[in-house]
């Protein structure tokens, strides 16, 4: 379980997050929603250690993450797929995937882990020795998610996986995220602008506005609240 407790983050004088508190349960998808600039990306970057908090704590399964380096947070089983996908274009598909396994598995085990990822994403298997720069938007998103999964994480942080993707592709990716969470007890924190598709797969939803949590509740409850939707989610 991911436990975010009274988390505040500032960039200089700008307060990006103020007193954010919520939990994300194992085996479920928690959607983090809100307008542009609400602090969603900052929240994920603080969990994975890229941004240092001003106060408050983040812990996972009782282990405190705040204060640890990015590299050590990864080693606790936390994978972050950054906004814009973070595929390394200068490397091949296979090299991108392998990078996620290097710190954890020995050579023989690595291969079998990669084969699992290729089974999950057949289009990647066909392109394994191609440069990542030649992939389409949807393939890049598969690669980014597949690479995050290659380290066998317990917690997956997804930042805007639908960005720039066709609705069909978005639906496929969302369905896959939901399946992964259910079947492998993966905890998923999903940041999305695409509120409808995020709410369609999430069990829980956290709505953030100007760095503060407005509501943290069952996704179905949030989706049913017309006033809240109008006010903060724009539909």
């Amino acid at each position: 379980m991911l436990d975010v407790e009274d988390l505040s983050v500032s960039y200089g004088a700008v307060r990006a997050l103020q007193g954010v508190t919520f939990q994300a349960q194992d085996g479920s998808v928690t959607a983090v929603l809100g307008a542009n600039g609400a602090g969603k990306t900052t929240l994920l970057r603080t969990v994975s250690g890229l941004v240092k908090q001003r106060s408050g704590t983040v812990s996972y399964d009782g282990e405190k993450l705040t204060g640890l380096s990015v590299e050590n947070i990864v080693r606790l089983g936390i994978s972050h797929v950054p906004e814009g996908r973070g595929v390394i274009e200068e490397l091949t598909v296979d090299e991108n995937l392998r990078l996620g396994t290097l710190w954890q598995f020995n050579r023989g085990h690595r291969r079998s882990v990669l084969d699992e990822i290729y089974d999950l994403f057949p289009p990647l298997a066909e392109r394994r020795s191609r440069m990542a720069s030649t992939l389409s938007g949807g393939e890049r998103q598969m690669l980014a998610i597949g690479r995050a999964l290659s380290s066998k994480p317990k917690l997956l942080l997804l930042d805007e996986p639908s960005l720039g993707l066709a609705p069909m592709v978005t639906a496929q990716i969302m369905a896959m995220v939901q399946r992964l969470a259910r079947e492998t007890r993966l905890t998923v924190v999903l940041v999305e602008q695409n509120v409808r598709s995020a709410l369609s797969i999430a069990e829980e939803a956290v709505v953030i506005n100007l760095g503060r949590v407005v509501v943290a509740d069952r996704a179905a409850t949030v989706a049913a609240d017309t006033q809240l939707r109008h006010h903060y989610l724009g539909f």
Binding site: V74, R75, R98, G137
Partner: protein, 292 residues
């Protein structure tokens, strides 16, 4: 004709040395986007360590290896102590620090080892080889230079292309933040980049020293030419370092042989100006990454 052949052979040998130093500049540029003006004086310092050991009757190859290991350690220490605190600071800061390192090391070498010229024994004979009845300006030692730099280049190629450490190094160079999110300890990779760069520099120092009268500033011109080579090849390309080194070596050898050796630095300047105005990213540089 024989002048042309000799100048060509000389150009290739010098070019390989420029390539080795340029490779060090490329390693550092790729890792930290810094031009290390201390690269030549770091190599000078380790070469003095080797000659000091040789003075004490230490085995030649042991002294040679000691200088390379000293380079490795020195590169790592310089990165950790001087360069790491500059991360996230203005780009001018590392320029000033590496220039300061250059002045500091030359001053220290002068006061520890003396500023006078001295000689460094070659590993192999420097007498020109004879083909048929013609003697050419190419010696056993020149063969050694070629072999040593080719081994260095092949080692670099294997490291980058065929090992997981090399994969980590490339990831850290192309996308440091993403690499960290994948568990690559980028800080250590940068230290390693500086250490390997200093090994390449040390090797070059050991190869240059026997061919010049050797004093604390003996690597200064070599660094200028290697910098020219690295810019010509593209500052982030190891292949570019090799090609740039060879082109610079040949061009300067012809300039020196046909026009006069005092014009060589001007030749390097001309190459720099042409490259910077016609193709500032160099011959082999990858295009600026496009982040989608």
């Amino acid at each position: 004709m024989s002048l042309f052949i000799n100048l060509t052979l000389n150009g290739v040998t010098n070019g390989m040395i420029f390539a080795a130093v340029a490779l060090g500049l490329v390693f550092i540029w790729r890792a930290t986007h810094i031009v290390n003006f201390g690269q030549g004086s770091m190599a000078m310092f380790t070469t003095y360590l080797a000659v000091t050991l040789l003075d004490r009757q230490v085995n030649y190859w042991l002294a040679f290896a000691a200088a390379l290991v000293a380079g490795l350690v020195m590169g790592a220490v310089v990165e950790t102590v001087l360069i790491r605190p500059l991360r996230g600071k203005p780009a001018l800061n590392p320029v000033i620090v590496t220039l300061g390192l250059f002045i500091l090391l030359e001053g220290m070498a002068g006061s520890i080892f003396g500023i006078g010229n001295r000689s460094f024994p070659p590993a192999f004979s420097q007498a020109g080889l004879t083909f048929g009845h013609t003697k050419v300006a190419f010696s056993h030692f020149d063969v050694f230079i070629l072999v040593a730099v080719v081994v260095l280049m092949l080692g670099t190629l294997v490291l980058f292309r065929a090992t997981s450490l090399g994969l980590r190094m490339r990831a850290a160079a192309f996308a440091p933040e993403v690499a960290r999110l994948l568990g690559v300890r980028v800080g250590r990779i940068l230290t390693l980049g500086w250490a390997l760069a200093a090994v390449a520099g040390s090797l070059a120092g050991l190869l240059v020293a026997p061919t010049v009268s050797f004093s604390p500033n003996f690597m200064d011109l070599v660094l200028v030419y290697a910098f020219t080579a690295a810019v010509l090849g593209g500052l982030d390309s190891p292949v570019g370092a090799l090609v740039g080194g060879l082109v610079t070596g040949l061009a300067l050898s012809y300039v020196g042989g046909y026009l006069g050796s005092s014009l060589e630095p001007l030749g390097a300047l001309a190459i720099l100006m042409v490259v910077l105005s016609a193709r500032p990213e160099g011959l082999f540089s990858r295009p600026e990454p496009r982040r989608v």
